[in-house]
């Protein structure tokens, strides 16, 4: 084995602790970055795979019809067309009622239903996988299904269906079940249909989708079937992907910061390690080693070995973490089937960085050490304290601590920088948490009612409201109409879906945060209010601009009167009920909103029972029931997922910073044991040594805390902007976080103390003779 190889191995063994810390620091930073990149890749490839399997399928939601479908396959580009029945139902199990969406199986199998049992279907009901998981249901369980206006029937859970187009129940509060035509009979449903699923030939949607679907709609219209809403199956997937993409982008940006942090750390460590080798390098130079020998032979082997270990560690850590994170994310969001692999691009990147980061970082200190004159290097001398004179201002031990810290400027700077980065992320995370919490509170203040029912009725608005109002405990009740509206975009064929809510103009059941313009009560007729989620749909429309809305065959142009903050419910339009009814004739209310007296909230179950009994008595069919509390809790699910990711990143950064400060202080004390020995020899007690080193640790901790506070501000603005735009299509309000600052101050001080006390104890316990000898 060549001499330089042997020497590199032995040197590594000799500096094992320092090298170990160095490797761990870089590996953790690189692994954080690699985990994010690989998870993002896995997530994207899963989405792509699922989208490919879903083909170009479109749902047409229509008026109820019983007749057979016209031959839509005669239209060029359409592969399949099948009529289905779909309805909201209430499902009871384990003593509580939940809202479900019930759908019949299509008679043909498409790729999206990967676990589609295919005919013949077992009797009973099949449930969507995430629905089963969320409600802890298993195959064989009995559940009661109640269709609006029908009798409640018991059905057995016959199996599980995987449907990646479905947004999980925990985010929407809506489960999904599938039934066979036979089971439809058990539930008392006629052969009525209200949905058409159309599958286009591969690639046709992109090429000519709008025209094909328009032809299909026209053909259906000839048969008396009106399409009210068009929904591309992949839309549901895109919504989830867009949100996670932004979060990934943000985390990858933080990961890049982590790599920057790693470079600083490594420069710092190499500086410390090479500084220790000053004398050895000078000896090598005396005996003929050229600069290229020292760099290429002796340093490259060390760097090569370090690089290999970093690469392997980074690969292992990031492979495990990205498997865990992508599995959790893909399962939680119901995106598809995870086929785990390690991206070749990411592998290549970490391969390069594992060697490049230590090499670049080592070049600076090695170059500096190599430039030291041989004579100075042989003496292992340090540079003299630069200031020739100092004004007499008395002496304190803290002054010595500050001078000692400032003497090694590069070390001081890197120590401070590594702590500041981690601290800034933690402070920003706490501030982001505050911003999100306050935004969430504002959102939760949006709905002022306590509960709501989705209903079907032939009664008028005033009658339905009166029925609900006359119930014991009800303070106020209103009847609204909520339905889908198509937003007509540039051409007549291009459209996007939005939820339209027609409510009383003076309703106090909604308390919106108006961002621009006005709320309905201050607007003239033919004006609408949109939420911030709607804005990007129609090309960042502003108050005063006009847009066309379409429901069925009815199309009308409206003026945007105001924009309110989104509620994580997707694009929504708010319209005064008088405007709505002058546009759509004969439309009956389909939502009842109830506010209870505050003293009646404890007995809400009784009030719910009474209202539902009254509804049944008056032939008002119930499709779904929800409480405002549940509606408010759902955004928390999404927000907590984002915060969790950010906090993990912040904690990782800080852990690396903390670890390195402790190590740096340890090496610092080790290098100065001669000076410590002298202080003790001239009468300094062990306590004085503790004071001296504590002073240094606290000095660094305090400066890094100040810098963290300053750095956290721009970082917080960035996080607020990205997360806010991703979640609610507007930046989150910036909030000052005294908790974050205090938390990091406490952590910094504790860290300064820990980083000083441990090496101080080790050093103070050594005999003075050994300390002076520098052993």
């Amino acid at each position: 084995m060549p001499l330089y190889f042997k020497k590199a191995l032995r040197d590594l063994r000799k500096d094992l602790t320092g090298i170990f810390l160095l490797i761990i620091s870089i590996s953790v930073c690189l692994a954080t970055m690699a985990t994010l990149l690989n998870t993002n890749k896995l997530f994207s490839s899963t989405v792509q795979e699922t989208a490919k399997n879903q083909q170009d399928s479109v749902y047409f939601y229509t008026n109820p019809f019983q007749n057979e479908l016209p031959d839509l396959r005669s239209i060029n580009g359409i592969q399949h067309a099948q009529s289905l029945f779909q309805s909201k139902v209430r499902v009871e199990f384990n003593g509580s009622a939940k809202n479900f969406e019930l759908q019949t199986f299509p008679s043909y199998t498409t790729g999206e239903e990967t676990n589609h049992p295919g005919p013949p279907f077992k009797p009973g009901i099949y449930l969507e996988k995430t629905t089963m998981d969320h409600y802890h249901l298993t195959k064989g369980d009995m559940i009661s299904v109640k269709l609006p206006g029908k009798k409640q029937k018991n059905l057995q859970v016959a199996g599980q269906i995987t449907d990646y187009a479905f947004i999980p129940a925990k985010f929407t509060g809506l489960g999904r079940g599938y039934i066979s035509p036979e089971s439809m009979k058990t539930l008392g449903i006629s052969s009525q249909k209200n949905t058409i699923k159309i599958t286009l030939l591969p690639g046709e949607y992109k090429k000519n989708g709008d025209n094909i679907l328009q032809h299909a709609k026209e053909k259906l219209k000839e048969q008396g079937i009106t399409v009210y809403r068009t929904e591309l199956v992949s839309e549901a997937l895109t919504v989830r992907k867009q949100m996670t993409d932004t979060v990934f982008l943000l985390l990858i940006m933080l990961g890049t910061l982590a790599v920057g942090l790693a470079v600083i750390l490594v420069i710092h460590f190499f500086y410390r390690l090479t500084a220790k080798k000053k004398q050895e390098m000078s000896i090598l130079k005396v005996f003929g080693a050229q600069k290229k020998d020292l760099i290429w032979k002796y340093c490259s082997v060390t760097l090569g070995l370090i690089g290999i270990v970093i690469f392997l560690l980074t690969f292992l850590i990031s492979a495990c973490l990205s498997f865990y994170f992508s599995k959790t994310l893909i399962q939680d969001l119901n995106i598809g089937q995870l086929y785990f692999h390690y991206s070749r691009d990411v592998l290549f990147l970490i391969g390069i960085l594992s060697f490049l980061v230590p090499s670049i970082a080592a070049l600076v200190p090695i170059n500096r050490v190599l430039k030291i004159p041989i004579v100075q290097g042989l003496k292992n001398g340090t540079k003299p304290y630069q200031r020739a004179e100092k004004r007499d201002s008395g002496f304190s031990l803290f002054l010595l601590s500050v001078r000692n810290s400032c003497r090694k400027k590069v070390q001081l700077l890197t120590n401070i920088l590594m702590l500041s980065f981690g601290g800034a992320v933690i402070i920003s995370c706490v501030a982001l948490n505050n911003s999100l919490t306050s935004t969430l509170k504002e959102m939760q203040g949006f709905w002022k009612h306590d509960m709501q029912w989705d209903i079907r009725t032939q009664m008028d608005i005033s009658d339905v409201s009166r029925i609900a109002s006359n119930t014991n405990g009800v303070y106020q009740a209103e009847s609204w109409t909520g339905r889908n509206a198509e937003v007509v975009l540039s051409s007549n064929y291009k459209s996007a879906n939005a939820l339209l809510l027609a409510i009383p103009r003076e309703s106090n059941m909604i308390q919106p945060i108006v961002k621009k313009g006005f709320w309905l009560d201050s607007l003239p007729s033919n004006s609408i209010v949109i939420n911030s989620d709607f804005q990007p749909l129609a090309g960042n429309v502003q108050p005063g601009e006009s847009i066309s809305l379409k429901i069925g065959n009815k199309k009308k142009t409206w003026t945007i009167g105001g924009i309110i903050q989104g509620q994580l419910t997707g694009p929504s339009i708010y319209m005064a009920e008088d405007d709505y009814h002058s546009w759509i004739d004969g439309q009956k209310p389909n939502r009842v909103i109830v506010k209870l007296y505050s003293n009646a909230k404890k007995q809400s179950a009784q009030t719910i029972n009474e209202i539902e009994t009254l509804f049944n008595r008056n032939n008002i069919s119930i499709e779904a029931f929800d409480t405002a509390q549940n509606m408010n809790n759902r955004p928390e699910q999404i927000i907590s997922m984002v915060l969790y990711c950010l906090l993990v990143t912040g904690i990782l950064f800080s852990a690396v910073g903390m670890l390195n400060l402790i190590a740096a202080m340890g090496i610092n004390v080790f290098e100065r044991r001669h000076e410590i020995g002298l202080i003790r020899a001239v009468g300094g007690s062990r306590m004085k040594i503790y004071q001296l080193l504590l002073g240094e640790g606290l000095f660094i901790a305090m400066i890094s805390w100040g810098l963290s506070a300053a750095l956290s501000y721009p970082l917080q603005l960035l996080l607020n902007d990205k997360i806010g735009n991703s979640l609610i299509n507007s930046p989150l309000p910036s909030s000052f976080s005294p908790q974050g600052l205090s938390l990091w101050l406490i952590v910094s001080l504790a860290l300064g103390i820990i980083a000083s006390v441990i090496p101080a104890k080790k050093t103070a316990d050594l005999p003075i003779k050994e300390l002076i000898a520098g052993k």
Partner: protein, 232 residues
């Protein structure tokens, strides 16, 4: 062999300028064993460092073997030092993570002297000469100071350099070990090597071909084997 002309070395710091050597003129012949003596801070080590090319003069020139090394660029001086000199320090300066054998092989690797196998053979032979063959695979920490210095001498001889420079080679050793080291130098001188040795030991300084007394940065006296012949 060595010619020093008007050689000066000045160090500067906040306290001002300090003349470590001032206008030194000196000739050393091939095969001579020269001792450099003087008090601490007189400039002995500076003189040796300048001869070895590990420090550069402020003024004047150094010519060794007909080559004006004081005007060599850094990479050339490194090559020259490697092939033409062998250096022994008071603190031995052995590399702690290399065995005694590997320490001796190291200068040969830098100068690409001999083949790899031959280098090992030569290193073992040199260690045998200094009576350390049985400890060839020991690390420096596990041998005595005297043994470390013997190994350092073997290392200085590795490239078969004609000039051996020694900076207080016996300064850290007891009298028995010091005597052993000195006898090794005597043998080398007998083999034709030129030796310049900085020492505090008056006994050794009287047993060399010539002694130079350095005082306040100048060579003030030259002695030839116990006999004062003149003053500069």
């Amino acid at each position: 062999m060595i010619q020093l002309q008007n050689l000066s070395k000045v160090y500067s710091n906040d306290a001002g300028q300090f003349w470590a050597l001032k206008d030194v003129n000196l000739s050393i012949h091939k095969g001579e064993f020269v001792a450099v003596i003087g008090k601490s801070g007189s400039g002995k080590s500076t003189l040796l460092h300048l001869l070895a090319g590990i420090d550069s003069p402020t003024n004047g020139s150094i010519t060794v073997g007909g080559k004006k090394i004081s005007s060599f660029p850094q990479n050339l001086i490194t090559k020259w030092r490697c092939r033409e000199t062998g250096i022994v320090f008071q603190s031995f300066f052995l590399l702690q993570t290399l065995t005694l054998l590997e320490n001796v092989m190291l200068p040969m690797e830098f100068s690409r002297f001999l083949t790899r196998r031959k280098r090992k053979e030569r290193a073992l032979s040199l260690l045998k000469d200094v009576d350390l063959l049985h400890k060839a695979n020991h690390f420096p920490d596990s041998v005595s100071g005297g043994e470390q210095q013997r190994c350092a001498i073997a290392r200085a001889l590795a490239n078969d350099a004609p000039l051996i420079l020694a900076d207080e080679p016996t300064g850290n050793l007891d009298s028995e070990n010091a005597e052993h080291i000195f006898s090794l130098f005597k043998n080398l001188a007998a083999q034709g090597k030129t030796i310049v040795m900085v020492t505090h030991d008056t006994d050794f300084s009287q047993r060399v071909d010539r002694s130079l007394l350095v005082k306040d940065g100048q060579i003030s006296d030259i002695y030839f084997t116990n006999e004062k012949v003149g003053q500069i």
